[in-house]
Subunit: 146 residues, 2 copies
DNA sequence: CCTAAACAGGATGTCAATGTCCTGTTTCGG
DNA sequence: CCGAAACAGGACATTGACATCCTGTTTAGG
């Protein structure tokens, strides 16, 4: 349903948000998010192209969010790497369907609209503040030990 | 978002439902739905494996629905050819997340759940009875003007 | 029983997504 | 200025989705 690249991009952005505004090295993100380092590098370049992250070369460099976690939604990330393709015209190219989708494609597009809306309404900050015992990307502290 | 194969399968099923219970030849379905004939054949074989359609060889043969359009949902078709993969365990394999997904994956799974529910609640009969000026797969009659 | 109709299914081709590797370029700190 | 750190990006490998082609098998009907 969602591409692997979307999953990777979201993990990376979440990791960055957790450490915002400190820059993180690609290798650090890769290790923390269990994403192949070399591939993550490509994914991050895609995020930079959409100006979601800043990439800084050289010693002390790394990756940082280009905008506040308050202003960054899940949809921003998804659309940056693998845009949700809404159905805007009849896939069969029936001219009379044009903008007025038939019941089948109307329902399929409604499904995608629902996802778009859900993702647009969730910011990174909300994700991290979610009262959920499992913190994104993080193993829970083991109660007894540690 | 949805694979091409899902799109093709839905078109074929809709076409069959429109002509139910008469069997249709694969080539007829292909022409009506604008799906490559040889590929449609494979897709239909997948639908047969899930017992959604019956395939009959020889003269007078063809493809027919294996169940009533009343009992056939969009979800049945989607899951037959390209199942919606819900997120049931942490993709990072964090043991403490296990069944209790973190906020990120919880939201992603909720999105897929919403689609599942929407598709499960729509039968083929409902699709065809939808008060929509555009009939699935069919070009509208051109009424002189407009 | 023979033949044409119609599906069955293996072989093969193409392409984009995913993933790896290696070398180049930039940048900071000393 | 020099060198190590860190990203940049091209080349390449792998895999599965999508698609085509061709031959085989089944079946109804004359």
């Amino acid at each position: 349903m969602f591409s692997q690249t979307v999953e990777y991009a979201l993990r990376a952005i979440v990791h960055l948000a957790q450490h915002s505004p400190d820059p993180q090295k690609t290798s650090e993100i890769a290790a923390a998010t269990k994403v192949p380092t070399a591939y993550l590098s490509k994914v991050l370049q895609g995020l930079r192209a959409k100006e979601l992250v800043c990439l800084q070369r050289g010693i002390g460099g790394g990756v940082s969010l280009a905008k506040s976690p308050d202003d960054l939604t899940i949809l921003d990330v998804v659309n940056a790497v693998d845009p949700i393709r809404r159905i805007t015209t009849c896939p069969l190219e029936l001219s009379s369907h044009g903008v007025r989708l038939c019941s089948l494609h109307r329902r399929m597009d409604n499904a995608m609209l629902a996802i778009e809306d859900a993702f647009r309404s969730t910011t990174l900050t909300e994700l991290l503040q979610d009262p959920n015992p499992s913190v994104p990307l993080c193993e829970e502290a083991t109660p007894g030990a540690r």
